[in-house]
């Protein structure tokens, strides 16, 4: 198949649930203003934990968190539903797509852990019983197997095509969109509701990151706790949220007069085969993922106008990612604006890759690059332009987003303002 005949994939709807802003536009305003949403942990009692900061979502009171049959939906599912509804309304495809040509592909790293823990406490009598009591709520199974999240969204939008969750740890939010784009390109589907969701903030997850000292302990100054690329960075801040998109095959989108945010032009992913949590400083595999994404996009490094970095706020990541960008983008890495929105919205594990894609789409729409907040002490080992503290006007047409996660996953995606040959 020649490039001319290839099916192309565009984003026509965006929905966001993020710390500090529920809804696409509040989220975007917050990013442009460089406001941080990290705060003292409140989804669970912070006492007794090493890290007591988090980036939490304040859901509007009118959000429905139960199914019509009364089942209590997990918080990650609720986020996905809210974001999916916003994206669906934004794209407004109405009944353009037959149900079997519409699919759902959502990312999540830890699924319904929070609900599992809540039910576990009850059924184990607060950890006393190994043989938990027999009387479980019927929705326990939905928490147990997180493909239930995608199933709820499929019910919402009326999808009968392939429905799945992609769960590749902290790159899930890129990988789900990459997978969805491939389903459209290959002709399996014409439209996919894709994105990612995560609501991991409960005791077990806070404790497990405590135990590997990965999260920030800036408990006295939570609003400054996430400091990617800053010499004083001290770990990531656990976050939550969701971003969901409507992806459509280009000719369908144009035929129905849809407004296009951008085209998904390139995606690449690699494993580092090194360590479940560790990264090698040379960034070789992330660089390969970036190169694969550029190759698929048929884009060269000088064309990249903005990089949305993984920028989790650990020293290991800062070095790894900077090395990977230098390896893959060459001299362009030293000039291109690079920022990490995790400085503001924290690290929502499987969701953040999609939340960062949402930011990229809005960069392309408005020509503004969000800053890396809390970047006040430059690190002499990090020579790139990390857009400290203040957003910047950049007439971006082609942007790159990167992700890196537990399990060794390294992913990258290239998005570009739509150009249609007429």
């Amino acid at each position: 198949m020649s490039a001319r005949q290839q099916r192309r994939v565009v984003v026509t709807g965006v929905g966001v649930v993020a710390p500090g802003g529920v809804g696409r536009e509040p989220f975007w305003t917050q990013l442009q203003e460089g406001r941080t949403a990290t705060r003292r942990l409140s989804n669970c009692p912070p006492e007794g934990f090493r890290s007591q900061v988090a980036a939490e979502v304040d859901l509007p009171a009118d959000v429905v968190a139960t199914r019509p049959d009364g089942a209590v939906l997990d918080r990650a599912t609720v986020f996905a539903m809210v974001a999916a509804r916003e994206a669906w309304d934004d794209a407004a495809p109405a009944s353009h797509y037959a149900a079997e040509r519409l699919g759902v592909c959502l990312g999540s790293a830890v699924g319904a852990t929070t609900s599992l823990e809540r039910v576990y406490r009850d059924m184990s009598h607060e950890g006393e019983l190994w043989n938990v009591v027999a009387d479980a709520p019927p929705e326990l199974y939905d928490y147990f197997v997180p493909s239930s999240i995608a199933a709820e969204v499929a019910e919402l939008v009326g999808a009968d095509g392939p429905v799945s969750v992609i769960s590749t740890g902290c790159t899930s939010g890129i990988d789900a969109v990459g997978q969805a784009a491939d389903l459209i390109r290959s002709g399996v589907l014409d439209a996919v509701v894709s994105g990612a969701t995560e609501a991991p903030i409960s005791e077990i997850t806070v404790a497990c990151f405590d135990s590997i000292r990965a999260t920030s302990t800036d408990n006295e100054t939570p609003e400054r706790a996430s400091r990617p690329f800053d010499a004083t960075r001290g770990g990531f801040v656990l976050g939550e949220g969701a971003a969901v998109f409507v992806l459509e095959e280009l000719t369908h989108a144009l035929d129905r007069g849809a407004t296009v945010y951008a085209e998904v032009v390139g995606y690449g992913s690699r494993c580092n085969a090194h360590h479940m949590t560790g990264l090698r400083a040379d960034g070789a595999e992330l660089a390969e993922a970036v190169t694969a994404a550029l190759d698929q996009a048929q884009v060269t490094a000088p064309e990249i106008d903005y990089v949305n970095a993984h920028g989790s706020g650990t020293k290991q990541n800062d070095l790894h990612e900077t090395a990977a960008l230098l390896r893959s983008l060459g001299e362009r890495a030293r000039e291109v604006p690079i920022s990490s929105i995790k400085s503001m919205v924290g690290h929502s594990l499987g969701a953040i890759g999609s939340i960062e894609i949402a930011a990229c789409l809005l960069v392309l729409r408005d020509g503004v690059v969000p800053p890396t907040a809390n970047l006040t002490t430059p690190d002499p080992d990090l020579p790139l332009d990390y857009v400290p503290n203040t957003s910047r006007a950049v007439a971006a047409r082609t942007v790159l987003t990167t992700g890196s996660g537990f399990g060794g996953f390294q992913s990258a995606m290239v998005l570009r303002t739509l150009e249609v040959a007429r």
Partner: protein, 405 residues
């Protein structure tokens, strides 16, 4: 969708009836079953008390102490099966590891590890939570650990689509061969035999309360009372068919999947998915020699599946078998094991039986209940997950030359 046929060149199995490929396959042909009262924990207070447990497997010598302490039992089983599949295929010698990827399905992650750490947290406090908890439970663990163990750095992934996910993982693996990976480790190994997993299975419904292992899980039998939960699964190595001449067990030639919304008749979607998989494979229904059915083991779900098979294959009473009747339902691991068994059936021209079941004649299918010899060219595998997930794949013999395509 399978754009180019993918060859299955390596198979690794860990199951309740065999801890390697040939042991499982021999037991499967003999009609051995591995269903018994749960031994892993005391299940006597729960509504279901039978399981298909993996027995007499000691992964410690192969994996070493550090991996044993940092992984759940299901990951240990997965690493054993993956190592067998990789060795079987010879890909480590044949391809650059940087161009090999891993794409598995998961359903519940390392759940027993999770229960233990939840217990440590709530009975003793946060400082007692394992440093490995952050990656021993999550769904990506098997792919990550297989990648590290074998040095595979190519494009990899993890899909969760309940029990149907393993077929989707195979299709994604085939796509990554198309996009440049030289080989993929795929499939799934699952295991949730701990009290906290058990109550979730029971809550989901569809598990039997029967206590006789011989009559507990009876797919397509009018006495069907639900399924038995099991553990284990299979990993498969896929390579491009053109690179695997003379080495393939079978070719993966078609895939489709779909979702049954709660308002829908499940047979509508299941039929569409089966027909789409056949069309993708370019194999006419009359060329299918055998169906490895999902066989949920409930009267209603089995009736739906049989109705779809009748409507797709017509009155000829297509041969159907449910090998998982011998081991229980292994979540995503079950569909992966079905594909492995289908590949071995194609290799040897042997159809393994559905143990214990006496088919309801109203189903209009030829349920194979005794081992049956006879060359096979094309096999359909169907997987249905709880909550509406449906997938199907078509495998063909590597020696088969499609006719009339």
């Amino acid at each position: 969708m399978i754009r180019e046929p993918a060859a299955i060149t390596g198979i690794g199995i860990v199951s309740p009836i065999g801890n390697d490929r040939e042991a499982h396959w021999i037991a499967q042909q003999k009609g051995v079953h591995g269903i018994a009262a749960v031994e892993r924990f005391d299940a006597s207070s729960y509504a279901s008390t039978l399981a298909g447990e993996v027995r007499d497997l000691d992964p410690a010598p192969a994996l070493g102490g550090r991996l044993m302490s940092s992984t759940d039992w299901m990951t240990q089983m997965s690493l054993v099966a993956a190592a067998e599949a990789v060795a079987d295929s010879g890909i480590a010698e044949r391809h650059e590891p940087g161009r090999c990827g891993v794409f598995t399905a998961s359903t519940a992650g390392g759940y027993e590890f999770g229960q233990r750490e939840l217990q440590n947290l709530w009975s003793r406090g946060p400082k007692y939570v394992s440093a490995y908890q952050s990656y021993a439970w999550f769904y990506a663990v098997n792919t990550g650990q297989i990648s590290i163990r074998h040095g595979f750095k190519g494009h990899s992934g993890v899909v969760v689509a309940d029990a149907a996910g393993a077929l989707d993982a195979l299709a994604s693996s085939a796509a990554h061969l198309h996009h440049g990976n030289a080989a993929m480790v795929s499939g799934a190994v699952d295991g949730t035999l701990c009290p906290w997993g058990w109550v979730a299975h029971v809550a989901g419904g569809g598990t039997t309360s029967a206590s006789d292992p011989e009559t507990a899980y009876l797919p397509f039998d009018p006495r069907a009372s639900g399924a038995v939960v099991g553990e284990g699964g299979a990993h498969l190595v896929l390579e491009r068919a053109a690179d695997a001449t003379g080495r393939a067990y079978a070719l993966l030639v078609g895939h489709a999947s779909g979702f049954v919304r709660s308002s829908q008749d499940p047979t509508t979607v299941l039929r569409r998915v089966v027909e789409a998989a056949l069309a993708d494979a370019d194999v006419r229904p009359d060329r299918i020699d055998l169906v490895l059915a999902d066989g949920a083991g409930t009267v209603a779900a089995d009736a739906d599946e049989a109705a779809v098979l009748r409507s797709v294959f017509g009155p000829r009473r297509v041969p159907v078998t449910v090998p998982k009747a011998a081991v229980g339902r292994l979540q995503a691991g079950g569909a992966a094991l079905d594909v492995a068994v289908a590949a071995l059936a194609l290799r040897d021209g042997l159809t393994p039986p559905t143990v214990h079941s006496q088919v309801d004649p109203a189903h209009g299918i030829d349920l194979v209940t005794e081992p049956r010899a006879g060359s096979l060219n094309s096999v359909l595998v169907v997987a249905r997950g709880r909550g509406g997930f449906v997938s199907a794949v078509v495998l063909t013999s590597p020696h088969h030359h499609p006719e009339g395509a």
